[in-house]
């Protein structure tokens, strides 16, 4: 299995390189990073423009620029930002933590909800519970995440107004002046996470619970479930030990495949709740034609997605003895 993991990572490297190359080209051609400078009023002196051109490596041919960026990476240099005082690497590191904790917690919440609701729906197929869960699932599938997030935010504000004090945080990933002490700090962060987590989790939950229901139904109709029942095992044991255990296997793949979509969802959620996370970082980068910011973001997210898929594949092999990686 270790050999499999190593080989998978080895295969991922060229994919990563190719996609970084394509995005680098697209990003570089998609706008002039100096736009903001050029249209400034009064116009800056030509020396400033020349200096910026050189600092942003715009005087170097495109291919060479890519090479400079790539080789810089090995020295820990993510390249120059349009904002001259911004160090992309350290900025990204702090934002990465902020975004990843949102994504991971939201995924966990969505998975738990999806498994519980999906299994209950499948076991009580065509019952009122099933129909309601199905309808709620479809509703969230059809709901634009930003619309729901804005609504949640508004409810949070109204709730705070009604109570007369700040109970639910609606803006930012943490307080501007974080409280002293480790635990109050954790509480502060958790308080800020509640609404964004809900809005991000519910979108994935909708698709996953439908999936889990279908998967559970398929398993419950299989011969080995019938045999397990014929052995005289209780309904509960059959459902959990034989049904759920097998129905969870395909969900690992789906979860991993959806990670990229969740990262997209996090970009939107962060925008609504005004978090200074990776989403805000890359959107600003795109708006200001900040090629290296976009590249750094892409590199980090693509790596996370690839690693996550690898973990899912390994987990799949652990859950299903029929799968052997050699």
């Amino acid at each position: 299995m270790l050999a499999f993991a190593v080989r998978r990572i080895a295969i991922s490297v060229p994919i990563l390189l190719l996609s970084s190359f394509i995005v680098f080209m697209l990003a570089s051609l998609s706008g002039n990073p100096l736009n903001e400078l050029l249209f400034r009023n009064p116009p800056p002196p030509p020396q400033v423009i020349a200096l910026e051109t050189e600092r942003l490596r715009l005087d170097v041919p495109l291919l060479e620029r890519y090479w400079l960026w790539l080789s810089g990476l090995f020295a820990g240099d993510f390249g120059p930002s349009v904002q001259s005082n911004l160090d992309i690497g350290s900025e990204l590191a702090s934002r990465f933590l902020v975004t990843m904790r949102l994504i991971l917690v939201a995924m966990l919440v969505a998975l738990l909800l999806a498994v519980v609701v999906g299994v209950v729906s499948a076991v009580k197929q065509y019952s009122k519970t099933d129909y309601s869960a199905t309808f709620v699932g479809f509703l969230f599938l059809a709901m634009p995440s930003f619309w729901f997030a804005i609504l949640l935010k508004q409810w949070g504000i109204e709730f705070n107004n009604a109570v007369g004090q700040q109970v639910i945080y609606t803006i930012g990933a943490s307080s501007v002046n974080p409280p002293d002490g480790f635990w109050s700090n954790v509480a502060d962060i958790a308080g800020h996470m509640v609404l964004p987590t809900i809005s991000l989790a519910l979108i994935s939950y909708a698709a996953w619970s439908r999936y889990q229901r279908a998967s559970m139904l398929e398993v419950m109709n299989s011969d080995y479930i019938r045999l397990a029942r014929a052995k005289g095992l209780s309904r509960r044991r059959v459902m959990v030990k034989h049904g759920l255990r097998n129905a969870l296997i395909p969900l690992t793949t789906v979860t991993a495949l959806d990670l990229a979509a969740i990262i997209s969802g996090a970009v939107v959620t962060e925008t609504v709740f005004q978090w200074r996370g990776m989403g805000d970082f890359v959107l600003n980068g795109i708006r200001t034609n900040d090629v290296y910011v976009v590249m750094a973001w892409l590199l980090v997210t693509a790596t996370v997605v690839i690693l996550f898929n690898l973990v899912a594949d390994l987990l799949y092999a652990v859950l299903d003895p029929r799968i052997r990686y050699v």
Partner: protein, 313 residues
């Protein structure tokens, strides 16, 4: 089935001997129904899908016919600023006096146009891509699917934002940008379908009879994969609507003076306390469109997937 056989003897017709009820099916018979009739019958049993289809058709008519007939144009500045919903302005007006009903209808048009174009374009490209990869297998498959995987590892919204920032603005360019990424998703589905079909006996039989690649793909694979492809394309419309609105919300989609449902929500988010109608109506339209399309897709899946025979309690 049996009632269409019971015919009342018409007055004046020759009296017939024996019982008037014809003999029932003595042997196992399958009533002859065309594939289309079967699909239609199964679709009609999915009540939610039928209702959804009605609602969606009504919405489309409202957006296009209603939009053209409505007394206000979406770009028109009426003298009424920030009016709550009324007879004159059913969805109210915004701070500049624009009629929100006209805006929402226009937004619906644009969002639907984008979604349909995305679904069409990515379905055609993705299906062919996946079918070719799945059919030929081997190196062709590996290379083609690696390219799809590559696109799938990227968070589409952000890449779409980047591309739209460069090319964006008009609705059809945004469609192309979204479709240019989404086909990879379709290609996975179509490859999966083709791979499972390839194992089926009737494909082997066709091969054994000496049918060529093109004939097998066109006459055997595509018709059999059509069900999954249509279902997928339907669902894709809903997905594309959501992606487009998110893109517009972030400021990388449709730009003023034109509008889309996502842009309308985006413009209204700061006015949620003062002019909530501006926020709710476009949002509800997005939900309504995506919801009905998903239900229709679900109904189609039931109707087009013959393996799925449901025993209803």
């Amino acid at each position: 089935m049996s009632d269409e056989r019971t015919r009342v003897a018409e007055p004046g017709s020759a009296p017939t001997a024996g019982p008037s009820t014809p003999a029932p099916d003595r042997e196992f018979t399958v009533a002859e129904r065309s594939q289309f009739q079967l699909v239609l019958r199964r679709f009609r049993q999915h009540r939610l899908a039928v209702v959804s289809l009605g609602v969606l058709v009504a919405l489309v008519l409202l957006a296009y016919v209603g939009g053209a007939l409505w007394r206000h144009d979406f770009g028109e500045f009426t003298p009424d600023n920030s009016q709550p919903p009324s007879w004159e302005h059913p969805f109210g007006t915004d701070a500049q006096g624009k009629d929100q009903f006209a805006q929402v209808l226009r937004g619906t048009q644009i969002s639907l146009q984008i979604a349909v174009l995305v679904a069409l374009f990515s379905t055609v490209v993705g299906t062919v891509w996946g079918a070719v990869a799945g059919y030929f297998g081997g190196l062709v498959d590996t290379v083609m699917m690696r390219i799809s995987d590559l696109i799938l590892t990227l968070p589409l919204l952000v890449v779409a934002a980047m591309l739209a920032h460069r090319f964006g603005g008009s609705w059809w360019l945004i469609s192309l940008v979204i479709a240019g990424l989404y086909w990879a998703y379709v290609s996975r589905v179509s490859r999966g379908v083709v791979l499972s079909l390839r194992e089926k006996e009737f494909i082997e039989a066709a091969e054994a009879m000496g049918a060529g690649d093109v004939r097998i793909i066109l006459r055997h694979l595509v018709p059999n994969a059509l069900g999954s492809i249509i279902v997928n394309a339907t669902i894709l419309i809903a997905v594309a609507i959501l992606l487009e609105t998110a893109l517009s919300y972030l400021g990388f989609g449709v730009r003023p003076p034109d509008t889309s449902l996502g842009l309308l929500v985006s413009e209204a988010q700061t006015a949620l306390t003062t002019r909530p109608w501006l926020f709710y109506f476009p949002g509800l339209f997005i939900i309504l469109i995506a919801l009905t399309i998903n239900f229709i897709g679900d109904g189609l899946r039931d109707a087009l997937d013959p393996q799925q025979t449901k025993v209803r309690a």
